[in-house]
């Protein structure tokens, strides 16, 4: 760097300012504007060495970084791309379990060994690769390679670990299916790549439920093989020594991975079409708009990086500035070009209020047309380029970061210059390059527009823009009329199927008993009277419900007490009107008076459980239940889906149950309902929270 000339330039500026301020001579001359960038420093991209073991394992050694740390990361072709459509979720489940037990170590022993040296060991499944990584201080490198060897060659996939991982995966999936964002990205992938393309299908509760230990072992056998794999060892390490260690630990490892099946050719689009994922009552819409993108080696990649940064690559980009800052429609709006091993995609996305959903689609398309037609003004272009080029060195700080960049470049089959010359290539991009790249790779006339939101509210307005296809949240096509007709309320439930009786549940938090829930249901003058008392961790909640035998709510009282917080509700229904009040703490809005119509089919909270108890359950059945949330004064629509059968053992005994997944409320739930009617609750789990209710006693017939 020619630092002294910079310093001179600064002094010179200071001198001029000094003169300008001169007359009283008292002020010190100083820089009053942000200084211009210094001369660029030549960034020599770190060198690496490469060799191949006899078993075909390709090895990169990157001696880099001043601190004595090292990481070994094994990339195995066949992440999600190695799954068959019916096996979606297999790669990820295999990764979860592969570090949980080998022929010589239990899951706990593996964890203790790596924690004992302050290191980490993990595996994960990406779009194209399964990755297994070990990280330690350089002095503990042999522990890292020992564990890597053990996991790669001797993983046993213990049945109980498979089950544990499956439960965690199912919980995660269930939460995912409740989020409009993930619904949008799932549908986007399915539409743009096709449901038979590995980039197009995603794990569902059904595919995950169907996977067994044998599938994991089979996936491991065809994926975790040295031939075709890449191992990157990075940090303060020496090539010779690493080579010796690798021959010792991975030299005996043999076999070639099974070549990935050639994915079907995704279809190019020639019209803009809207795909609406109907999420009844959705308080927010997600718009994901895009189409197929570029292949990894595309030379216009750099121009597209700049294009994307201008269009939607950050909080100072156009989409964010216009949709959020100017119009206030959205919480966030971004765009991206992906670059996986196969064909990538372009996508612009925004989360918006339902009433501006159609305007958002129009605005995004307008912004795409603008960047295709008008040259980007110089200042905007410079800003985008200086961010991209400037942040590049910050992404190369640690050996691990460099190794990651290196690996993804090599795995995509790109020349190394794509990585090492990134800042220069970015700086070369001019306004015409951006306009040309945008015109070539972003197409407002051939976009798939995924909208997740309330179809009854949005359908007509979106149909004015483009043809619309309708789907439910699980991806099944819906008839237009069905969606536009709106709420199909007033599902009828037959109360005669209920039975008097008492039930008692234990509340478990992190597996420890932490409270109880008591239920009593009795006949009272032709109605049903239900009492539920939940007490746990110092708080209590008592709900008394009265409803007719055809499930018309009549009265509810509820008292919640948690520390100083008290909630009391006392409501009755007279002539279809809801009357009464709910006392809430001040910060939840204080007292709320009710005198309003109760829409037909809306239940009181707590009744939904009885509705499920009398429903006709069988696998694949979807049920919709609407109830009134007393603290918010809003109706909540729960969607319950019977996903399978499961034998469940709880303190009250062993039961054949339906596994029912419930979404739409505060927290996604999994219910286990007795198969024989009435379908009483045997177990309840809260997705993502260590809380569970188990039946401990039952006096129902």
């Amino acid at each position: 760097m020619n630092g002294s000339s910079v310093a001179r330039a600064v002094s010179f500026a200071a001198l001029l300012l000094g003169l300008a301020l001169g007359p009283d001579g008292a002020l010190e001359a100083q820089q009053t504007e942000p200084p211009e960038p210094l001369r660029e420093r030549l960034l020599a991209f770190p060198e690496h060495e490469e060799f191949t073991l006899d078993n075909g394992l390709r090895v990169i050694v990157l001696s880099y970084g001043g601190q004595p740390v090292m990481s070994a990361r094994l990339y195995l072709p066949g992440g999600r791309a190695g799954e068959a459509a019916g096996q979606a979720g297999l790669a990820s489940l295999t990764a979860d379990v592969i570090t949980r037990g080998t022929t010589t170590r239990t899951a706990e022993e593996i964890a203790e060994t790596i924690e004992g040296v302050g290191g980490s060991l993990s595996a994960s499944a990406g779009q194209d690769f399964l990755t297994i990584s070990a990280t330690t201080l350089t002095e503990h490198r042999s522990t890292a390679f020992e564990l890597l060897e053990d996991v790669v060659e001797h993983a046993v996939f213990p049945e109980e670990e498979v089950e544990l991982a499956r439960r965690q995966t199912l919980s995660g999936l269930q939460a995912e299916l409740g989020q409009p964002q993930s619904l949008a990205s799932r549908r986007f992938a399915a539409i743009v790549f096709g449901e038979d393309h590995p980039y197009g299908f995603r794990a569902t509760p059904e595919t995950v439920q169907a996977l067994g230990r044998d599938d994991l072992v089979e996936f491991r056998d065809r994926t975790v093989r040295p031939e075709g794999a890449l191992l990157v060892v990075a940090g303060r390490v020496e090539r010779e020594e690493i080579e010796t260690l690798l021959r010792r630990h991975l030299g005996e490892w043999t076999g070639a991975g099974t070549p990935l099946p050639e994915p079907p050719q995704p279809e190019e689009r020639d019209e803009t079409r809207i795909y609406l994922v109907h999420r009844p009552g959705s308080a927010q819409s997600v718009v994901s708009l895009g189409h197929l993108g570029i292949e990894p080696g595309n030379p216009d990649y750099f121009a597209l990086q700049v294009t994307n940064r201008v269009l939607g690559g950050g909080s100072d980009a156009r989409l964010f500035q216009i949709l959020r800052e100017e119009k206030g429609w959205t919480y966030g709006a971004y765009s991206q070009f992906t670059r996986p091993a196969g064909r990538g995609h372009f996508m612009a996305q925004a989360e918006v209020r339902p009433e501006v959903t159609d305007s958002t689609v129009v605005e995004i398309l307008d912004q795409i047309r603008r960047i295709r037609e008008e040259p980007v003004p110089a200042e905007e272009l410079e800003g985008a380029k200086s961010f991209l080029a400037g942040s590049f060195p910050l992404r190369l700080e640690t050996a691990d970061q460099v190794a990651g960049q290196l690996a993804s470049t090599l795995l995509l089959g790109l020349p190394l210059e794509h990585l090492t010359e990134y800042p220069e290539r970015i700086r070369e991009v001019d306004a015409e390059d951006v306009r040309r790249a945008a015109a070539r790779y972003i197409d407002p006339e051939g976009a798939a527009v995924i909208v997740v939101g309330d179809g009854a509210q949005l359908g007509d307005r979106l149909e004015a823009l483009a043809p619309v296809e309708y789907f439910d949240v699980r991806g099944a096509p819906l008839a237009r009329e069905e969606v536009l007709a709106g709420e199909e309320v007033g599902s009828s439930w037959d109360g005669e199927r209920l039975e008097e009786g008492e039930r008692r549940y234990e509340v478990y938090v992190q597996g420890e008993p932490m409270g109880t829930a008591e239920y009593a249901l009795e006949r009272r003058d032709g109605d049903w009277l239900s009492r539920v008392l939940i007490s746990s961790m110092g708080s209590t909640q008592e709900t008394v419900l009265r409803f007719s035998s055809d499930f018309v709510p009549k009265a509810v009282t509820q008292e919640v007490s948690q520390g100083p917080m008290q909630i009391a509700a006392d409501l009755v229904v007279e002539d279809g009107r809801l009357l009464g009040s709910v006392d809430l703490p001040e910060d939840l809005g204080g007292r709320r008076e009710y005198d309003q119509e109760l829409p037909a089919g809306t239940l009181f909270p707590g009744m939904e459980e009885y509705a499920l108890a009398v429903a006709d359950l069988k696998e694949g059945v979807d049920l919709l239940v609407t109830y009134l949330d007393l603290t918010r004064g809003e109706t909540v629509r729960l969607e319950a889906r019977v996903v399978g059968e499961e034998e469940v053992t709880v303190p009250a005994g062993t039961f054949d149950t339906w596994r029912v997944e419930v979404s739409g409320g505060d927290t996604p739930l999994t219910l286990f309902l007795r198969k024989s009617p009435p379908h009483l609750l045997i177990r309840q789990e809260f997705t993502g929270q260590p809380v569970r209710f188990d039946l401990i006693a039952l006096t129902h017939p």
Binding site: R41, G65, A517, Q562
Partner: protein, 462 residues
Amino acid sequence: MPHPPPVLRALSGLLVGFLTVSSQALAQAPAEAAAGDIPFEEYRLDNGLHVILAPDEESTSVAVNLWYDVGSRHERPGRSGFAHLFEHLMFQGSENIGPGEHPQLIERAGGTSNASITEDRTNYFQTVPPERMNLALWLESERMRALRITEENMRREVEVVKEERRLRIDNSPYGTTQLAAGYYAAYDSASCFAYAHSVIGSVEDLDAAELSDVQDFFDLYYVPGNATLTVVGAFDETPARELIEDYFGSIPAGDAPPDVSCEEPFSHLPVDQTIQDSNATLPAIFLSYGTVETAHADAPALSVLGRILGEGQSSRLHQRLVRGEQVAVQTAAFSSTRRGPGLFQVIAIANQGVEAEALLVLLDEEIERVLEEGVETHEVERAQNQLRSSVIRSRQTVMGRAEALQSANHFHGTPTAILTAVERVARVSPEDVQRVAREYLGPDNRAILRTEPGSATGEEDR
């Protein structure tokens, strides 16, 4: 299906909140157990600014990191929380820079920036690509030279800080107990107000802030002689020196701030208090033992002891109270040293239906066991490995190295302590651990705080 009461929904929040407690212990580690060499140069400008430069050919970016020797311990009674408020105000613009513009300019250059505060220091930091080192230096010099605060933006930041307090303390389970255990019950406020009040301060004091206080505080503490500028990464020393001289050299020196007094901070111990906490749903025990400053010879053994007792699944408290007897949902222990006298903290949150008293009995048994029987060699080694690994790992980035140099300088009096501190941890023997446990973990040297879930408000932070 049961709609669980809010307490259950809030549980994950509780767990997260608790994790934050033990991460404080981690954050403390670099100050105590440095490892890995970082070659550097240090010098002072004529106005007293202490400069540490660590140019490094292998780096790809530059950290510009400024520590002011001011933290909550410098606050006077009636002005608690002021140092933290000031950290916020440093983003409100200066002579040539508008409010909020500083981080914006850094981001546009491809860099990142932020600031933080503890009892002992306030830091301001940015990582930038090499050619924008001058921007970061200039921006820091701008606010050191001519911070510009108006009544309006001061009031707004007072509200922001009060909101932060509401979120982190007043509405957070065990927040009030943490304040007692970390500050006002653990330290004698008559003899050591410096550490007997919290960083976040009291709402009354924040409301009492006046614009003239801001200027006074700035004039007293935000002067070159009270700051250390550390630059680490991809730059050449000579031009960096010239830039620093150009930007900072003409800032007036200012006077040396007064010393902080903290005499006999633990003479009031033992203390035994019960705190009613409306946010907490389970009883808890917080123990705070009076210990030593970071530079003290016993500090490394104390931090090893903390890990053995209360860090991770294999720690003694977890094995006994959480897994074995199942009386606690969570446990933690850690050494929290500082510039002045520090604390050794032990925490346990009871399982449903377990009284705080029962936890205390078991905690005392485990502590007694260390005093009587000592600890195992493999426990010491595991703790040493983990401490070493986390320290070394943190030094992979230019920012991590800048913080390590600052920390060594601030807590041990010289940046060279990065070389010696690592050996201090490595030298800790099982006997050392037992000895410091006997020295500091006696019943007369502690504050016992019992959290009782309930309606009354907690004792006010003074």
